[in-house]
Structures are given as structure tokens and as C-alpha cells.
């Protein structure tokens, strides 16, 4: 046997969470990669089938740890569709605010971890420290730092406190200031160019066929964003442009796209975009109810039918397929996590032929999050 076997994960600093890539390496070139997941499999979909519609709300947010709100949002939207509910305007705006804040927090985490995989430990410290201020906002808004259980079918759980917009604005402007520092340390660093350009390339034209979504797809030059394609909440009122390769703002377009460099730059730019969306939403937010009146949770029955709702998460397209037969429990809820394609098929294919030193960089640049693969 000429190759040796390496395990990246489950207990390894170079893997995004609790999953494993089984690599066959010859010299320093990966000749074969196999993704091995299931370390986090809790059987959510099975558990949801035995809980009623409202009991599932605290469960769904636990599917994706770094950005739980997209789960709540997709689940709520799917249930609302089956119930044929129209939710209050204010709730929609609050949802946009929390979704975008969660996106910023998730991007900060992903940028921090990515920088860690490149060996610059200053940025993870800064980015994750700054992310904590967003968790403070969540705490004031929802009462929890990580699992918010805030977006319910029918609206949001509580109204936004009066003083919160001030805090949010303060945090956002602080983040904007910090982003300049991040640029100096990572995004405009010469060694980052050297390391990331041309690494982990998704072949041209394959991205859509392989099911690549989100920032990873936009880094390949396709301006597809579910917030634009299928606007949910009030995204059609928001003024923003989809960021895609090669329009990378004031960052140099060094590579021909689809690589780790472009993916990270797209993420970096989307933080600024999210900041502007949060500001717009806070500005335009109307007064009014935040939730519609619910039926009794224990007896709540949902009309039969199929519903599929997608939202744009920081990792890509997040979809909930909800099937109801008219009883008080769902027949089937199937979650489409973005990492399902990124982490398994795409990663296995693009790791083949990669340099061993780049494996962890590629995984972090794809922003693979194992909980949404295995649920």
C-alpha cells in the first residue's frame, strides 16, 4: 500500500465539528476522501414525528448550532403555509432582523474558524469575541444566547424591546470598524492570497449540478440567493444586491472563482450586506402585533398536505419539507441542510488531488456544518 490513511476528525482541530474525513494520502496528495458522518445523529426527524406541532419548535432550532434561526424560520414558514396563515407585518421585519443578525454571527464564526485553519490565531480570537456581542443582542431579544426558540409559526415569540435598536446599531457600527481590522490581518494579507487562491476549486459549470448553494455558489459566479429568488418575510422590500464573483467590491479579483479565496471574500462582503439589511429593517419596521392568535397547542391540527419552504442560511439553501395528514403530529419532516451536499459529495470530490495541508482550509471554506447533514 503506497498511501497512508489519515483521519481528519472526529477528534481533530482541522474539522468543522464532529465529523470525519477518511483520507488516503500519497506523499502529501490526497488520492481518495471519504466522508463519515453520524457522530451527531440524534434522529430529529423521528423525534418530530412523535411530538406535536408546537413541541417541535424547540427541537428544530437544535439542528444547526451556529445559526439556529433559519431552522425556526423554515419550519414556521412551512407550517404557516399548510395553515394558510398570513402573519403580521411587524413580525416579518423582526424576523428579518434576527435572521440577518444570526447570519452575521454565523459568518463571524466561519471566518474565525477559517482563519484558525490557516494558522492565524489572532482573527479567531477577535471574530469570536466580537460574535459574542451579537449573542448579547439575542439574549436581550429572545432570552437565550444560542437556541432562541423565537420565531414561532404565526409570528415571533415576543415583541422587540424598545431599547434594542440602539444596542443593535451600536454593535453594527462596532462590527464595521472591526471588519477593517480583519481586512488588515486576513483578507488583505499576502499569505492569505498565496494560500487560498486556486485551492478547493469546484469545477466550472459543475456547481449547480452538484447542488452547491449559498455563498459557495455565489463564489462560482452565479448570483442566486433565495432571498431574491423566492423572497420570504420582507426581503423583497429590502434594498440589496446579490454579491457574487467577480464583483468583489474593493477586494482584488485574483482567482478565477470557485476557490477558497473567493468563498471567504464573498462571506466577508455579505457581512456588510447583512449589516445594511438590518439597518433597513429597523428603519422600516412598522408598529403592530408581533404574533397571530394561536389555537390550543395540544389540540392544534394542521390540514393535510405537502409544504416545502426554503430560506437562505449563511451556509446555503436550508429547506424544510413538511408532510401533514391532518393530525396533531407531522407525518414527516425532512430537513435539507446545505452541508448535505457541500460536506459529503462536493467535499469528497474536491478533496481528491488536494494538498494535505489544504484539507482543513477547504472544509472550513465550504463552511461544512455536520449537524445539518445528519440531524
Amino acid at each position: 500500500m503506497k498511501e497512508y490513511e489519515l483521519f481528519i476528525g472526529p477528534q481533530h482541530p482541522g474539522v468543522t465539528g464532529n465529523m470525519m474525513y477518511h483520507l488516503w494520502v500519497d506523499g502529501d496528495t490526497v488520492t481518495k476522501a471519504e466522508c463519515n458522518v453520524g457522530y451527531l445523529h440524534r434522529g430529529f426527524e423521528k423525534l418530530m414525528e412523535s411530538r406535536n406541532w408546537m413541541q417541535n419548535v424547540p427541537l428544530v432550532c437544535r439542528i444547526c448550532v451556529p445559526e439556529p434561526d433559519v431552522n425556526e424560520m423554515a419550519y414556521a414558514m412551512a407550517v404557516e403555509q399548510l395553515m394558510d396563515w398570513e402573519i403580521p407585518e411587524r413580525a416579518k421585519y423582526i424576523r428579518v432582523v434576527i435572521l440577518e443578525l444570526a447570519r452575521i454571527a454565523a459568518y463571524l464564526m466561519s471566518i474565525g474558524s477559517y482563519a484558525g485553519s490557516l494558522g492565524i490565531y489572532t482573527l479567531p480570537q477577535w471574530a469570536l469575541g466580537d460574535r459574542d456581542y451579537f449573542l448579547d443582542i439575542f439574549e436581550q431579544l429572545t432570552g437565550a444566547r444560542v437556541y432562541h426558540i423565537y420565531i414561532w409559526p404565526g409570528g415571533v415569540r415576543w415583541d422587540m424591546p424598545e431599547k434594542l435598536p440602539g444596542l443593535i446599531e451600536k454593535t453594527l457600527s462596532y462590527t464595521e470598524k472591526r471588519l477593517k481590522l480583519y481586512d488588515d490581518v486576513l483578507f488583505k494579507n499576502r499569505i492569505f492570497f498565496d494560500r487560498a487562491v486556486g485551492i478547493g476549486k469546484i469545477p466550472k459549470g459543475k456547481a449547480i449540478e452538484w447542488g452547491v448553494t449559498g455563498p459557495n455558489l455565489r463564489a462560482c459566479g452565479y448570483g442566486y440567493d433565495i432571498r431574491k429568488l423566492e423572497p420570504y418575510a420582507v426581503y423583497d422590500d429590502m434594498d440589496f444586491e446579490v454579491i457574487k464573483y467577480p464583483e468583489l467590491g474593493d477586494f482584488d479579483v485574483l482567482s478565477d472563482g470557485c476557490d477558497a479565496y473567493t468563498r471567504m471574500i464573498v462571506r466577508r462582503l455579505e457581512i456588510e450586506q447583512s449589516i445594511s439589511i438590518v439597518r433597513q429593517a429597523l428603519e422600516k419596521m412598522p408598529e403592530g402585533e408581533h404574533i397571530i392568535k394561536h389555537p390550543n397547542w395540544l389540540k392544534w391540527k394542521v390540514p393535510p398536505g405537502y409544504a416545502f419552504k426554503r430560506v437562505e442560511s449563511s451556509k446555503g439553501e436550508y429547506g424544510y419539507f413538511v408532510v401533514s395528514d391532518g393530525s396533531n403530529k407531522p407525518v414527516r419532516i425532512h430537513v435539507r441542510g446545505p452541508s448535505y451536499t457541500h460536506g459529503v459529495n462536493v467535499a469528497e470530490t474536491i478533496l481528491k488531488g488536494a494538498n494535505m495541508a489544504d484539507v482543513s482550509q477547504i472544509l472550513f471554506s465550504l463552511d461544512v456544518c455536520p449537524p445539518d447533514i445528519e440531524r
Binding site: E45, G211, N345
Partner: protein, 156 residues
């Protein structure tokens, strides 16, 4: 709906096309849709209709061109279910098929990688089937494990 036009059958469901299909023709339908702009394969999911004694496989596809979602539904009998693998059309279907094979016990002809995916050393009924009782299993297995009996000992 564009998808219904292309295939020539199906119904609209909450703004999405729902196309029922037979086991054999599913492959041609998906191929046809793929060629006609439905380039993004969203997911493959499975529903266990235990009352009707059948599994329903739902292929979700999305077209960036037409901005439209299509669900192709294939119903299979619950005993010895098997389906044709479509991983050659979209590579990620392989993973979905692995999961559904493991969770429902559906066999996919032509998929050579139906190895354990999420579970390890699983020998019971496939867990996502409706006749598998998760609560009972957990009680049987995990609650029956005894506690560690400690001796009365100063040292520990």
C-alpha cells in the same frame, strides 16, 4: 406551471408542481426536467405511509431559470421496496439514497455505495419506519444499562 407543461401531467400544490410518477418512468421524468432547466436537485425525501402500506419517494427539483419547484413523487410498496438509483444524473443523490436505504430499508439498484451512513452497527428495524418505536428502543437499550456499583471505600 412549467414543469407540468414539460412532463404533461401533475398538479399545482401551494405554488409548487407535484408530479406523481411510476417507479419506471421517474428516471425519464427527472432526466427530462434536468434537460429543461431544472438544474438544481434540492433533495430526495421519503415518506412512510403506513396506513396505505407504501413508501413515497419525493424528488425535489428547482429551476433557477423558471424559478419553480417540482416534486416528483414515486410510490413503492412497503415490503421489499426497491428503486432505480439516479446518482448518475446528480451526484448528490447517492448520499440521499444511502441515507434512505439506511433509514427506511429501501434498496436502490445501481448504487454501489449503500454502506452504513449515519448509524454504525445497526441491526434493528430501519429507524425511520413508522413501525419502529424509538421510545421503546431507548427504554429497552439505554435504560436497562445498570449503574456503576461503588463500594463503600474512603479511597475513591
Amino acid at each position: 406551471m412549467k414543469a407540468i407543461e414539460i412532463i404533461g401531467k401533475g398538479e399545482e400544490m401551494h405554488g409548487r408542481a407535484y408530479i406523481p410518477s411510476g417507479r419506471e418512468e421517474a428516471g425519464t421524468i427527472i432526466k427530462k426536467l434536468k434537460e429543461n432547466g431544472f438544474a438544481h436537485f434540492v433533495m430526495l425525501s421519503c415518506v412512510d405511509w403506513i396506513d396505505k402500506n407504501e413508501f413515497e419517494l419525493v424528488y425535489h427539483m428547482w429551476s433557477y431559470e423558471h424559478k419553480e419547484h417540482a416534486m416528483i413523487s414515486v410510490r413503492l410498496p412497503r415490503d421489499n421496496p426497491s428503486m432505480f438509483s439516479m446518482h448518475e444524473l446528480f451526484p448528490q443523490i447517492e448520499t440521499y439514497e444511502r441515507e434512505i436505504h439506511e433509514m427506511y430499508g429501501i434498496d436502490f439498484e445501481g448504487n454501489s455505495r449503500l454502506t452504513p451512513f449515519l448509524l454504525e452497527g445497526w441491526h434493528d428495524t430501519p429507524p425511520m419506519r413508522k413501525d419502529f418505536d424509538s421510545k421503546k428502543f431507548a427504554e429497552d437499550v439505554f435504560d436497562s444499562i445498570p449503574e456503576i456499583k461503588e463500594e463503600e471505600d474512603e479511597g475513591i
